[in-house]
């Protein structure tokens, strides 16, 4: 996959939307991801799971997108839960202190289920 490539696909499970992200989420591709989240907000869908399984790289700008929406999402009774991060990506999350702010799950289903139980 090209360095500049990034893909986001959405799948809805009732009121939970899963955004599967793929490739490189960096300064260049962040606007694309921002757009995907904005679309969910416009449809009042505040329960989100971001699936990192196919994400190769994330930079600060990519993380910034998460920061930009979390308050609004939580204010509306939703959350952004993260799932299936590879070690490299997790390391960056960890370095910047994200694990204290976001729930991170091993599997996509676990993250979806978490919305059901709480």
């Amino acid at each position: 996959m090209d360095q500049n490539q990034f893909e986001v696909t959405r799948q809805d499970h009732d009121d939970v939307s899963v955004l599967a992200i793929k490739g490189f989420l960096d300064a260049h591709t962040a606007p694309e991801f921002e757009f995907a989240i904005q679309e969910l907000l416009q449809n009042n869908r505040y329960k989100m799971v971001v699936d990192f399984q196919e994400l190769n790289y994330i930079s600060s700008a990519g993380l910034g997108v998460f920061m930009g929406f979390i308050e609004e999402v939580r204010k509306n009774g939703g959350d952004i839960k993260l799932a299936q991060m590879n070690e490299k990506v997790f390391k960056i999350f960890d370095l910047l202190g994200f694990p204290n702010l976001y729930e991170i799950y091993k599997s996509r289903n676990e993250a979806i289920q978490k919305f059901r139980t709480t």
């Binding site: 960096d26 300064a27 260049h28 962040a30 606007p31 921002e34 930079s59 600060s60 700008a61 990519g62 993380l63 910034g64 997108v65 998460f66 920061m67 930009g68 979390i70 308050e71 609004e72 204010k75 390391k91 960056i92 370095l95 910047l96 202190g97 994200f98 204290n100 702010l101």
Partner: protein
């Protein structure tokens, strides 16, 4: 007797076994907590002690509770200043307590004995133990055992402390690398784009992600006015922020210092209430060439911590990178704008050129010649010659205010309306009145037109005209008399429902009608004198018998020689109509 000795040996053996095992476990692990838990559990299990605690040296003489058993929860992390130089195990009852907190803690919790953990001659930790279950006193060999355990744990503890330190340093290093990566990436991205909105978007995301911030504002100064370009975070509106920052003193202060924490002096001085209410905590200046180009406003870190020196430095570097990219973007935008304007001018000129008649009606009794010089590509002059029925001729000249496309379009409008009305043979003053109405309705109040329209009747040999504020055309008779044609009314587009007058004047063969725009009479010479009507009349007089085309050429030649070497500011348009001699 022998039995007791055997028992003692057995106990000794057990102690040695547990020492050996502990040692093995301790040295295999680098996890401090596991080591300390093991140390406590072994001692407490072996000697049946109810309470145990480990203090680990944090820095200098500060010792932190790193593990505890048999205490109420919440003790971990508590730190104490330890004055006593502990070298050997000590009964707490024998400790010289000077009322310090460490001593107090030990006594309050009913601890009996402390054992030093010494590595390389340094006291790196202290073990504290409470009462034994079966007997109250610690026997000397039990104390020996505890000391041996502490000694064997010392190296492992030291090693794991070092390892922790290394881990911390490594993490710091990783963070630094991450920061550098971010700077590298954003600088690459910033340089790859020239779209200012894209630049500020990237900038905001990078800051928020890197510093765990969820409120971000980016303001750019455009022509000295603050404009909010990015606004992220809940419940912020751009207008009050712009109002807050639209103050030369505020701008001056931000130019002096790269990072301001909102609060204290800067707040009381300028009362940046909107920013404060929006939760903005820091403002970072973006400056270039000693000019404030913009500001980055950010909220507190989500963790509630203040920004560290390193983080502030990171912000400054980022702001610098961004301002350069933004300036480049601006330059390109200006270049594109200029290109676009030039393109627009070219289109306008094309429209205008196409509006001018490229040939004149061929009439038996009249010759016509005209010239239109436009300076700076596009002017507001136009003229038209319309062949009417019965060999009559309609002739118009106009000067539209403004230049470029709007003027050209207005001119096209004017010409179309005139042609439609003239061909219907509406009276001249009515044509002009209706055109005025149309122009008034369809243009902004700052657009107006000076306009002259006249119809030459072949049968009656007359000219009927209305002059709406245009430089009065000159009708020159063969005998040298001349008159200015100025009957009409005010310029087009100024007022609605204006009643224009018209005048009819007789024409004779050999008469010359000269229509011109102010570019002719207001042409300047090196002394800043105008060419003027008198010089114009003089040239016409001298060339009374010349053909229409010759007349045009001579007038232009006269104007050009008058204003030689001067850059003319206005367009020049000239039409000469001459009644053929019969």
């Amino acid at each position: 007797m022998e039995n007791t000795e055997f028992e003692n040996l057995k106990i000794r053996y057990l102690e040695l076994t547990s020492l050996f095992e502990t040692n093995k476990i301790l040295n295999a692990s680098l996890d401090l907590r596991a080591i300390l838990n093991n140390l406590l559990l072994t001692s407490m299990g072996r000697l049946m002690i109810g309470q145990g605690v480990v203090f680990i040296r944090d820095e200098k003489s500060l010792y932190k509770i790193a593990a505890a058993k048999g205490f109420s929860p919440g003790r971990l992390g508590q730190t104490f200043f330890v004055e006593t130089a502990l070298e050997t195990p000590l009964y707490i009852s024998e400790m010289p307590c000077k009322g310090d907190q460490f001593c107090q803690f030990l006594k309050e919790n009913n601890l009996q004995i402390v054992v030093p953990i010494i590595s390389n001659g340094r006291l790196i930790g202290i073990l504290g133990f409470g009462k034994k279950f079966i007997q109250s006193d610690y026997k000397p060999e039990e104390i020996d055992f505890l000391q041996s355990l502490a000694d064997s744990a010392a190296i492992a503890v030291d090693k794991s402390l070092l390892f922790d330190e290394l881990k911390k340093t490594n993490r710091k290093l990783d963070k630094k690398i991450q920061e550098l990566n971010t700077l590298f990436e954003i600088s690459r991205e910033l340089n790859a784009t020239l779209e200012i909105q894209k630049i500020v978007n990237v900038l905001s995301f990078t800051i928020m992600g890197e510093l765990l911030i969820n409120k971000c504002l980016i303001i750019l100064y455009e022509k000295g006015l603050p404009k909010v370009k990015v606004i992220r975070g809940v419940g912020m509106k751009p207008e009050p922020v712009e109002e807050n920052l639209n103050n030369p003193e505020v701008q001056y202060d931000f130019l002096q210092k790269p990072v301001h924490q909102l609060g204290g002096k800067i707040l009381s001085k300028h009362g940046l209430s909107a920013l404060r209410e929006a939760g903005i905590e820091y403002l970072v200046s973006m400056t270039a060439k000693n000019e404030l180009k913009g500001l980055i406003g950010i909220g507190r870190k989500i963790t509630g911590e203040e920004l560290s020196e390193t983080e502030l430095g990171f912000l400054e570097t980022l702001a610098n990178d961004a301002v350069n990219a933004i300036e480049n973007g601006r330059m390109v935008e200006q270049m594109l704008e200029k290109q676009r304007m030039e393109e627009e001018l070219k289109i306008a000129r094309d429209i205008q050129q196409r509006l001018l008649p490229d040939s004149f009606p061929q009439l038996e009794w009249i010759e016509i010649a005209a010239v239109n010089h436009s300076c700076h590509h596009v002017g507001g002059d136009s003229y038209d010659c319309i062949a009417l029925d019965s060999g009559d001729l309609g002739i118009s000249i106009a000067d539209v205010s403004g230049k470029s496309t709007p003027a050209a379009l207005l001119m096209a409008n004017l010409q179309a309306s005139l042609r439609a009305l003239a061909i219907e043979r509406k009276p001249v003053h009515e044509c002009v009145g209706r055109i005025n109405h149309l122009i008034y309705q369809n243009t902004a109040s700052d657009k107006y037109i000076t306009f002259f329209y006249g119809e030459l009747s072949a049968l009656k040999k007359t000219l009927t005209y209305t002059n709406a504020g245009h430089n009065a055309p000159i009708l020159f008779h063969r005998d040298g008399r001349y008159r200015f044609l100025q009957t009409g009314g005010i310029i087009l587009g100024m007022m609605n429902h204006v009643a224009y007058e018209e005048e009819t004047v007789p024409l004779n063969s050999g008469d010359v009608l000269v229509l011109y725009t102010d570019g002719i009479t207001e042409a300047l010479n090196a002394h800043e004198e105008e060419f003027g009507e008198e010089r114009l009349i003089q040239v016409i007089k001298e060339n009374r018998t010349a053909s229409a085309q010759e007349m045009v050429d001579r007038i232009i030649a006269a104007v050009e020689s008058f204003s030689e070497g001067m850059d003319q500011a206005d367009d020049m348009t000239l039409i000469v109509v001459r009644l053929k001699e019969i």
